[in-house]
Structure formats: structure tokens, C-alpha cells
């Protein structure tokens, strides 16, 4: 496998079943996610981009095909290994933030560390974990909201908290499902700048699902999805035209 490729999906097929009816969502998708780059997956609703992201995050399993992370196949890995992968190697952010409403921003950021450790293990490292969570909140500009619950925060703040949470366990890959889809343009831009900054300063690999072509244009690599297939890469198409 190419060293630059952090995640590779090969020949992915996925269908959903509704009342005995098979609804194919992905029809043989091959995609390579290059390390250190921002990759955009753009497409209309129902094109299968979110399903592809779920498969890359091992939240779901493909009907056929393989998903590789670095040099290991993860789509058919045991459940515990896939849980550990989601907890440590990959960070996920969602359109609707998905913060836990009972927890404060700081506790939400600490959640991945709590999940990844036993009670004793967490207590042993809790000061360190707390320091890191505060640093993550500071990094997304949310240290003043550490003790606030999601219901007390704006959409942009919640998405920042979700980003801080996704970074907590120092993942190598960030999967973002429509991160600006529920935000106004200005706030959306702030979130995009934040993600771009993370990519530039930390070299964090980001896969961004979006239906907004403008956002896709700003990515290093872009793929367009249509009817469950990867059709063109807009960025590469532009690059090809220039060449």
C-alpha cells in the first residue's frame, strides 16, 4: 500500500433493505484518502457519501469490498478492534454535533478518553486528560464554555466542542459529515477555517462530506459521488485542465 494513503476503500458495495426491496447505495466505490490532506466527498443527498463515511469509520460494514487503514483491514476486524479504531485512530464530527446533552462541553471532550479507559485507568490519568481536554477547548476557542451544557451553546460553539472532542484522543484521521450543514455561512466559514488550520498546523488528515461545491473546491482533493459511484474529482479535473 502506498505510504501516502492513510485509508483505502476498495470495491465497496452497500445496499439497504426496505420491505424486501434492495436499495443499492454504494455500487463499487474505490477511494484512497491521502495522509495529511483535506479530502472532500461531494454529492447530492442520497448519493451515498454519508454511507461511505460510515463504512470508513467502521460504523457499518460493507456488503462487499474492503476498507484498509494503514496496513490493516478494518471492515471485517473484530468488534473490539473496530471500537478501538473509532476511539483512538479516527475522530468523527457530525452535522448535528451529537454532543451528549447531559454533559458539559469539557465532559463531552473528555468522553472519548473515558470510553477508551477503564475506571481505574481513567482515574490514573484524569489530570492529564483534563488538561488535554481544556487545551482542546482552548484550541477551538471554547475555553470560556467549558462548564456549559450543549443546550446553553450556539450551533457554532457546539460544532467547535464536537471538533475538540474528535481531537481528544489525537486521531490520525478526522471524518467530518457535513460539518457546516447546520450552520449559517459565516459560522460555517469559521468552522472550515478551524479545520483547515488543524490540517495545516498538525498535518491532520481530514475527510469532509459536503453537498457544497464551494467547500469541495477548497479541499486538497475532492471526489464527487453520484448514484453510489465515485465519478470525478473536481480538484483533479481542474488540475488536469491547467496542465
Amino acid at each position: 500500500m502506498n505510504n501516502d494513503v492513510i485509508l483505502r476503500a476498495v470495491g465497496i458495495h452497500k445496499s439497504y433493505h426496505k420491505d424486501r426491496l434492495e436499495l443499492p447505495v454504494l455500487r463499487g466505490v474505490d477511494v484512497d484518502i491521502e495522509a495529511g490532506k483535506v479530502t472532500a466527498l461531494v454529492g447530492r443527498s442520497g448519493s451515498g457519501k454519508s454511507t461511505l463515511m460510515h463504512l470508513m469509520a467502521t460504523l457499518d460494514r460493507p456488503d462487499a469490498g474492503e476498507v484498509w487503514f494503514r496496513a490493516r483491514r478494518i471492515d471485517n476486524a473484530p468488534r473490539a478492534e473496530r471500537d478501538a479504531f473509532r476511539n483512538g485512530d479516527v475522530g468523527i464530527i457530525f452535522q448535528f454535533y451529537h454532543l451528549l446533552p447531559e454533559l458539559t462541553a469539557l465532559e463531552n471532550v473528555l468522553a472519548p478518553t473515558m470510553i477508551g479507559h477503564s475506571v481505574l485507568g481513567y482515574f490514573r490519568h484524569r489530570k492529564e486528560a483534563r488538561r488535554r481536554a481544556e487545551a482542546m477547548l482552548d484550541r477551538v476557542g471554547l475555553s470560556h464554555r467549558a462548564a456549559h451544557r450543549p443546550s446553553e451553546m450556539s450551533g457554532g460553539e457546539m460544532q467547535r466542542a464536537a471538533i475538540a472532542r474528535s481531537l481528544m484522543n489525537d486521531p490520525q484521521l478526522l471524518l467530518a459529515d457535513e460539518p457546516t450543514g447546520n450552520l449559517d455561512t459565516e459560522t460555517g466559514q469559521e468552522i472550515l477555517s478551524l479545520l483547515r488550520g488543524l490540517n495545516e498546523t498538525d498535518g491532520l488528515t481530514i475527510v469532509m462530506i459536503t453537498h457544497d461545491d464551494a467547500i469541495a473546491e477548497a479541499a486538497d482533493v475532492g471526489y464527487r459521488m453520484k448514484d453510489g459511484r465515485l465519478v470525478t474529482s473536481p480538484r483533479r479535473a481542474i488540475q488536469a485542465a491547467c496542465a
Binding site: 460504523l59 471500537d83 476511539n87 483512538g88 457530525f94 451529537h98 454533559l103 465532559e107 473515558m114 470510553i115
Partner: protein, 515 residues
């Protein structure tokens, strides 16, 4: 760690779950109160039953009794050995008690027991239940001057009362005699008048009346003399009822200082009825109506004399019953069995029983009642468990997206399941903990609470005319508390298993898309 954090947060924010746990709280509190009260009643009953009956009772069914009690006691000492802590012999005989009450004759069937006051307290708590404080220290069959408790609204008990009554009856008799002589009435007419007065002698059959004649009656001065003493069970000669102010009062047909008549069979082969007057010297109140309404106690040697239980040649006195007290912790059943082997029923007409054997059906009934109550109350908690189940299913549905989020963050199905199991455990602990505190508090103040309920409803919660206790007896057994707590918590956890399984099996993608 996250599961406990979420559990505690759910506990603070999901009030509906707290509402569902209230039934567990109430169930636990009720179980604790009911068990404590039942244990209190049961212990009180055991105490009283055991207090009256000795550990082991050897009854001879023959009317003439066991001819040689000393030899029997020697054999018993050999058989029981070091466990034997005390012995007493007595005579039990069925008898009819006749009380003269305002010219009316009241008859009661009683078990007349001749006891040796010196040794009887070694095997039972007889003395403890006598009303006169001096008699409680050392039982006596002599009427005392005063010092009886102030239980009777009609008269003070003791010699003073006896003298007053004797003087009154004497004056009444004199007056009647005077009226008769003035009217020159016929003897038949005189008899008719006499029968209207409170003279018991004329109301009992003539052949019985003659039995206590023996010439002493002319010299007997009731203001100075007494018949042989008798201690009556309080319910043989009194009733409880309420006065106009609804206070419970005793009403006595006879009282210490009165004379009563006893009729009982003699020990001869051609049985005859012995008719003997006794003077009531004290009353006996154990709180167990079975005893209080059937027992009357007299001196053993007197009863042996009256029944003819003395061997004409040897002078040996027979008894019908031997009572044994065993050392603390001794195995009563083993001792009973050993004695039964020594006195086999095909050779001896003896009935050898422990006090538990004698009260077996009653103790078993109380035990059964307690068991059934426990089952019913645990069913209440089980119903509460279904409430928790339904509530938890609602919470799991409500938390679908959060479950998806947790799985996206790497939480395992087991981890998600443990959130809801821990939540059930926590609710169980909180619910039963509050129930425990409430139950203990209730038990601690049960009498004042009963008082408040009585004052509000006007209905007596704990009727002393029924129970013979002035307060509700309670005993809190730590093992029972542990049992109830563990049971309630287990039900709460078991009720949360199905919702927790559902949460664990949720598809993360479906959960994240859940609206």
C-alpha cells in the same frame, strides 16, 4: 467511567425514572415495616408462649397422675444430663370456675393448675405476669393488704375490700332476716327471697354445697380468714370494653379478695366432683388470651389434698405434670426424643412435648402469614420492576442518538449496556435506600404515627382490647434489611436488562440518523 458519569447525570435529569422508583421505595419501606412489626409480634408471642410453658412438658394422661415424681425426676436428670436447668412438678386438672356476680352465677371452664410456687418460676415466667408487685418477686397464695395495681374502677383490691364486702353482706343478711321475722314469712317464701341476693352457696347444687361443709363454715370469718388462695387468669374473671370516652377499661366479675368456687374431679377411680371455695389472691395477665382465659393456679399440696393424690400408706404425692427448663442453647428436640425413648408411649400414658410442639400450629400460622405477606409485598416490588422496564424502554428510545454517538466514539455494546444496567442498579440503590430510611423511620415512630392516624381518622389503629399490648411491638432484624434491599435492587437491575440489551444492540448508523 463514562457509564457512571452518565448514570449519575440521568439520575439527576430523568425525573420520570425517579417516579418509577418510588414504587420500589414504597415497597421496600412497606416490607421493612411489615416485617419489623411481624417480627415484633412473633417475638412477643414466642416470649409469652415460652414464658408460660416450660421448655419440655411431661404430662400424664391418667387422672391419678404419676405416683412417684421424685423417681421420675431422677430418671429425667439421668436422661437429660447437664442440660437440665430446672424442674417443677404440678397437677393439671380441668375444672369449672363459679363466680358469684351480683347474685348471678358465672361459670367458666378453666385448667386448674396446682403449682409449687418455689420451683415453678424456675421453669416458666409465671411470677412475672402476676399483677401484685410483691407476688412478681415471690409468688404467694395469701391475700395481701394492698399494693395491687389500680386496674379496677369499682373497688380497691385486697383485705380492705374483702372486709368491706363481708360486712356489707353480713348487714344485708341481717336485714333480710329481720324483714323475714317481721313478716313471719314461710320458709318457702324465705328461700325465694334469699335466692335474689348475692349468695353463691344457694345457687350451686345442694350435693355440691355440702362438700365444703365439714363444720368449719360456722367459725369462718370472711373479714379475717380466707379460703385457700387462687390466682385467676385475668380473662377468666374480667372483660375489656370501652367507656363513653372510648378509653379501654377492664370490667371485673371478681377481684382479689373475692371468694370463688371450683369444681373439679378427684383422682379416685370412681370419680367424684370436688367442690371447693378459694379466695382470689391475685390475677395473672400474660397477654396471651389462650392462657389468660383458661388458667387458674392454686397451691400444689392443697390441690393434691383435695383430689386425694396422696398414697394412703407411703404418703407419696402424685403429680400429673413435670415441667423441665433446659440450659440456654440446649437442643429441646433431642432432649424430648431422649425422654420419649425412656418413657415409651406403649408403656407410659405420658405426652412429652416441647413448648414449640404445643404451640406448633399457632407458630406455623404466624410464620405462614409472614411468608405470604413477604411474597405479596415482593410482588409489589416486582410490579414496580415492570414500571422500571417500561420507563427504561422510553429512556432508551429517547437516548437513541446518544447511544449512536457513544458507539461512534468507540463505546462497545457491552459498555452501552452497562450504562443502563448501572442506571438500574443506581435507581435500585437510591429507591431502596430511601425506602430503607423511610421504613426505619416509620418503625421507629410507629406508635406516634398510629396515634396521629387515630386522631385524624378517629379509628383506632392498634386496639389494645384485641392485642393485649399497649404499644405496637417491633423488631428490626439486619438480615431482613439486607434481604429486602438486595431483593429490591436485584429486581431493579433485572428490570433494566431488556432495555439495556436493546440499547447494546442498536445499530449506530440508525441511531445517529434517529430523529
Amino acid at each position: 467511567m463514562y457509564r457512571w458519569l452518565l448514570c449519575f447525570r440521568y439520575l439527576r435529569t430523568r425525573y420520570i425514572a425517579l417516579a418509577s422508583i418510588i414504587s420500589v421505595t414504597l415497597g421496600v419501606a412497606t416490607l421493612i415495616v411489615v416485617n419489623s412489626v411481624m417480627a415484633g409480634f412473633s417475638a412477643e408471642m414466642h416470649e409469652r408462649l415460652h414464658g408460660l410453658a416450660s421448655d419440655i412438658l411431661i404430662e400424664c394422661h391418667a387422672s391419678s397422675g404419676m405416683p412417684d415424681p421424685e423417681k421420675h425426676l431422677e430418671i429425667i436428670r439421668d436422661v437429660v444430663g447437664e442440660d437440665l436447668a430446672g424442674t417443677s412438678v404440678s397437677v393439671h386438672v380441668p375444672a369449672m370456675l363459679a363466680i358469684d356476680f351480683n347474685g348471678q352465677l358465672i361459670n367458666r371452664h378453666v385448667n386448674l393448675v396446682g403449682i409449687d410456687a418455689e420451683t415453678y418460676d424456675d421453669v416458666s415466667h409465671f411470677g412475672r405476669y402476676l399483677l401484685h408487685p410483691e407476688n412478681r418477686r415471690q409468688a404467694s397464695f395469701e391475700l395481701r393488704d394492698d399494693g395491687y395495681p389500680d386496674r379496677d374502677r369499682m373497688a380497691d383490691w385486697g383485705w380492705e375490700y374483702r372486709r368491706k364486702r363481708a360486712n356489707y353482706e353480713k348487714m344485708l343478711a341481717d336485714e333480710r332476716a329481720m324483714v323475714r321475722s317481721m313478716n313471719g314469712a314461710s320458709s318457702a317464701g324465705a328461700e325465694a327471697v334469699e335466692s335474689e341476693g348475692p349468695s353463691m352457696g344457694n345457687l350451686v347444687p345442694a350435693e355440691l354445697r355440702d362438700a365444703d361443709g365439714d363444720g368449719e363454715a360456722q367459725e369462718f370469718d370472711p373479714t379475717k380468714d380466707q379460703y385457700p388462695g387462687i390466682v385467676l387468669g385475668i380473662a377468666t374473671c374480667s372483660t375489656k370494653h370501652r367507656d363513653q370516652a372510648d378509653a379501654v377499661i377492664d370490667h371485673f366479675y371478681c377481684r382479689p379478695g373475692d371468694d370463688v368456687r371450683m369444681m373439679f374431679p378427684n383422682a379416685a377411680d370412681d370419680t367424684k366432683v370436688v367442690n371447693q371455695k378459694f379466695t382470689v389472691v391475685d390475677l395473672y395477665e400474660s397477654g396471651m388470651s389462650e392462657y389468660d382465659s383458661t388458667f387458674a393456679f392454686v397451691q400444689l399440696d392443697r390441690l393434691q389434698d383435695y383430689r386425694g393424690m396422696i398414697h394412703p400408706e407411703t404418703g407419696a404425692r402424685s403429680v400429673t405434670t413435670i415441667q423441665l427448663k433446659l440450659a440456654e442453647g440446649a437442643d429441646l428436640n433431642a432432649a424430648r426424643d431422649a425422654l420419649r425413648r425412656r418413657f415409651p408411649p406403649d408403656m407410659y400414658a405420658y405426652n412429652i412435648q416441647t413448648w414449640r410442639d404445643m404451640q406448633g400450629p399457632l407458630l406455623a400460622a404466624v410464620q405462614l402469614e409472614t411468608t405470604i405477606l413477604n411474597i405479596l409485598l415482593f410482588l409489589i416490588i416486582a410490579v414496580a420492576g415492570f414500571g422500571i422496564l417500561a420507563t427504561f424502554f422510553m429512556i432508551v428510545v429517547e437516548k437513541t442518538r446518544d447511544i449512536g454517538t457513544l458507539k461512534a466514539l468507540g463505546a462497545s455494546g457491552g459498555g452501552v449496556m452497562s450504562i443502563f444496567l448501572s442506571y438500574g442498579l443506581l435507581l435500585g440503590v437510591v429507591g431502596s435506600g430511601v425506602g430503607l430510611a423511610g421504613g426505619l423511620l416509620f418503625v421507629d415512630h410507629i406508635n406516634s404515627i398510629a396515634g396521629v392516624i387515630e386522631s385524624v381518622t378517629g379509628q383506632e389503629v392498634f386496639d389494645p382490647t384485641v392485642y393485649y399490648f399497649s404499644e405496637i411491638p417491633t423488631i428490626i432484624r439486619p438480615a431482613m434489611l439486607v434481604w429486602v434491599m438486595v431483593g429490591a435492587i436485584a429486581i431493579a437491575v433485572i428490570a433494566s436488562v431488556l432495555p439495556a440489551l436493546r440499547a447494546a444492540r442498536m445499530d449506530p448508523v440508525q441511531s445517529l440518523r434517529f430523529e
